[in-house]
């Protein structure tokens, strides 16, 4: 493979990475909006309305909805904002941020698994806003891993 062709591959994969990180940034915004809504509902003590899955209020008023006195939804909002910032930086070519994004979304995914376990087996109710958050986190981790893989291929291409 000649140098021009190899440069084209690197450029194409670079573009794909940029698009992937931009999508990750947008997805993080969905998670951020969801978490802000849940934080506000938690702090104000309002009854959260659910249309798909019942049990929002059971979940959000359960003892697992706080860490000490900090609402878990607020921790989620901070996490999504961090993911958004890292994805934005990565979309602009900051590969250090891309690496950290993979670690952060990996940790968020592990927490998500724990929260899904709590909803399914301990609280016995699901909250659709929490399920949306789980879907967003899973999507973010998927994108971060694919983008990292592309990055590895670009580096290894001849």
């Amino acid at each position: 493979m000649n140098a021009t062709a190899s440069n084209e591959i690197v450029e194409t994969q670079g573009r794909r990475q940029t698009i992937l990180y931009a999508v990750a940034a947008l997805l993080s915004l969905v998670g951020l909006a969801d978490s802000i809504y849940l934080t506000v509902e938690h702090v104000s003590g309002r009854t959260v309305l659910c249309t798909i899955v019942s049990g929002c209020s059971e979940v959000l008023r359960s003892p697992y909805a706080t860490i000490g006195s900090v609402p878990l939804a607020l921790v989620g909002a901070v996490s999504y904002f961090t993911a958004f910032s890292l994805a934005t930086l990565a979309a602009f070519g900051n590969m250090g941020a891309a690496k950290v994004l993979t670690v952060v979304t990996g940790l968020m995914f592990l927490v998500t698994l724990w929260l899904l376990y709590l909803q399914a087996f301990v609280i016995g109710s699901f909250c659709q806003f929490c399920l949306l958050s789980a879907a967003v986190t899973t999507g973010l981790l998927g994108i971060a891993l694919i983008a990292r893989r592309l990055s590895g291929q670009a580096i290894n291409s001849p």
């Binding site: 506000v40 009854t47 008023r61």
Partner: protein
Amino acid sequence: MRKYLPVIIILAVLAIAVGAGLYLLRPASTSEQAPVAPAGKPVAANPIAAAPGAVPPHSIGSEGAPVTIEEFGDFQCPPCATFHPVLKQIKSAYGPRVRVIFREFPLLPAHQHALSAARAAEAAGLQGKFWEMHDLIYENQRSWHESKDARPIFEEYAGRLGLNLDRFRKDVTSDLVQQRIFLDGKRGHSLGVKGTPTVFLNGRELPVESLAPDRLRARIDAELAATEK
């Protein structure tokens, strides 16, 4: 400029996120919360200065008890049903040292059966069985909250409690029952109640976290210790 663009985007999102959070946290208009109660801004956060609510209130325990717990509840609200056994345990554990007051605060239109449930409980109250109906409605919430029409179920509860059914059916739609719910709602609004369950312990609103059994006991113990000094 391109160098600073990501930072600008990040800061803009931060500002929007914080702004949106603060905007959503502003006090909601009362008409969204409980249309059975009158519109108007909360006028007082002091339970004594606030609107009095239905008289006499539904209460267990003597007026002279050192600790008074006043709950604003909605029978269709799941956290209220979760809180119900907690409060029941508190009542049996503390006996005459704690007075419990229940106030109607049906959240409409979010909870379609909340008003029927409140009416059923109030109608039972007119035959001296408020707390029995209150317990039945909460303890069976899962069996009626998704039904199309919960009123026959509440009538069945009334029958189970040995109430005069003809009178119960009349009372459910009576002005007196409606007025009691209205007055409790008015008191809730005047205290700034926004959701359910909202609980006041000796006049101070408890944060949601304090409604966990151990934390509530700790609060009551602290209050009892303070009054016994």
